[in-house]
Symmetry: C2
Subunit: 208 residues, 2 copies
DNA sequence: CGCTCATTTGAGGAACTTCAAGGTCAGTGG
DNA sequence: CCACTGACCTTGAAGTTCCTCAAATGAGCG
């Protein structure tokens, strides 16, 4: 079984639902739902976040096109939401697991996806005990890398989302970005949302 | 193959090396080594941590007896160290993966271990944007749960380790614990290292 | 006891948050 | 074409939390 890619493709197609489109700030799933489905991002940005009893929100992770995720345990009760307009694929978890037990390539994809997500979560932990300036610089540089190192960085998510991801207020984030700009490390051309990372060496130094 | 637990046990035995004992603060592995081995904690506490260029240390995770870990990607370059005197098992990664592809039980153990580690990392991220008092209360309560909800909580790792895990200074951690004590939520009986969590409801409230 | 190391406590300063106001930009309707 | 609106971002000033530095206290051990 699955001796050729074509039959693998057919089996995968049978497991997926979508692409489903969501508008910005729509809830895609609560993580009770994610117990049954993995998500694959086709376009746009997805965030997983948590609202505390105190009303404060934390963004745990951003997922970009090509990311496969949904391993988060149900006890965290995270909410999966569209950070921009998005399209995502829902993939039956049990079906994919069964497939993985028969096809090593599938198993490797799942293992790689999970390991990557763990590594990113650990880097996130490390980031949270750095200064605001360092957090902002690291976030922008990482995002630029994840989006393919294009000439300009079009930041797709709102500053509020970024601030909640970095554990800062939106004001502190704004000030930090302004400091980076005044230091000549980045520039905003021509508008807010489009950034040019000018001095990668300097950014690396700020990132520690 | 592996139709019975006995043959599974034999195969597992062939993959493991140890138990190996380490004294407190010994380096168990750098994560280039962890690329080849998974670690299983027999006794004591293991920490994974990172020293920045600036000299500051962060503890990414603590592993307790029964924990299986080592999925961290090599690009983080974490150091795996003994937070107390410990005994650990080294398990050949490739061998265990091969085993997992043939035995669903093994695959499930690996998946569960990885998912748990991811969930803990995400909770850690959430924790880092809370107040010092909340972080301390959450850490102590979680540790108490992970250690089996014994009557007394014998904190096994140093305050410095805990502070580096929580992204606080050792002084702020100490003050936070003192505040919890003065609020009657915890008590130190009879010495520093042994704590009694007195008011679980109150602790839950501080944890938010 | 007298050493060392770990933890606690205090006072002052730095970083971040809060609250409040001003600015920018895209969309809408006159 | 221009003013109006609302969402989003930026800036300023005051307040809070946490950090830094310094010293004191406590625990463990020869």
């Amino acid at each position: 079984m699955f001796g050729d890619d074509a039959s693998l493709q057919r089996t995968l197609s049978a497991l997926k639902r979508g692409p489903v489109r969501f508008y910005r700030d729509n809830v895609i799933a609560l993580d009770e739902d994610v117990a049954d489905y993995l998500l694959f991002v086709i376009s746009g940005v997805v965030r997983s976040c948590k609202i505390c009893e105190s009303g404060t929100r934390s963004v745990v992770s951003f997922y970009l096109p090509g990311d496969l995720f949904g391993w988060t345990g149900p006890k965290l009760s995270l909410s999966i939401e569209a950070a921009t307009d998005t399209a995502v694929l829902f993939i039956k978890r049990r079906g994919l697991l069964a497939l993985a037990s028969r096809d090593v390539r599938v198993a490797n994809v799942l293992l790689t996806a999970t390991t990557n997500e763990l590594a990113r979560a650990q880097e996130h932990v490390l980031l949270m005990s750095k200064s605001a300036k360092c957090r902002a610089a690291t976030f922008l540089t990482d995002l630029w890398v994840r989006l393919g190192k294009a000439k300009y960085l079009d930041v797709p998510m709102s500053h509020q989302d970024i601030a909640d991801y970095l554990g800062l207020t939106i004001e502190t984030l704004s000030r930090s970005i302004t400091v980076l700009e005044r230091s000549g490390l980045i520039a905003r051309i021509p508008s807010q949302r489009r950034l040019l990372l000018q001095n990668h060496f300097g950014l690396r130094r700020v990132m520690n």
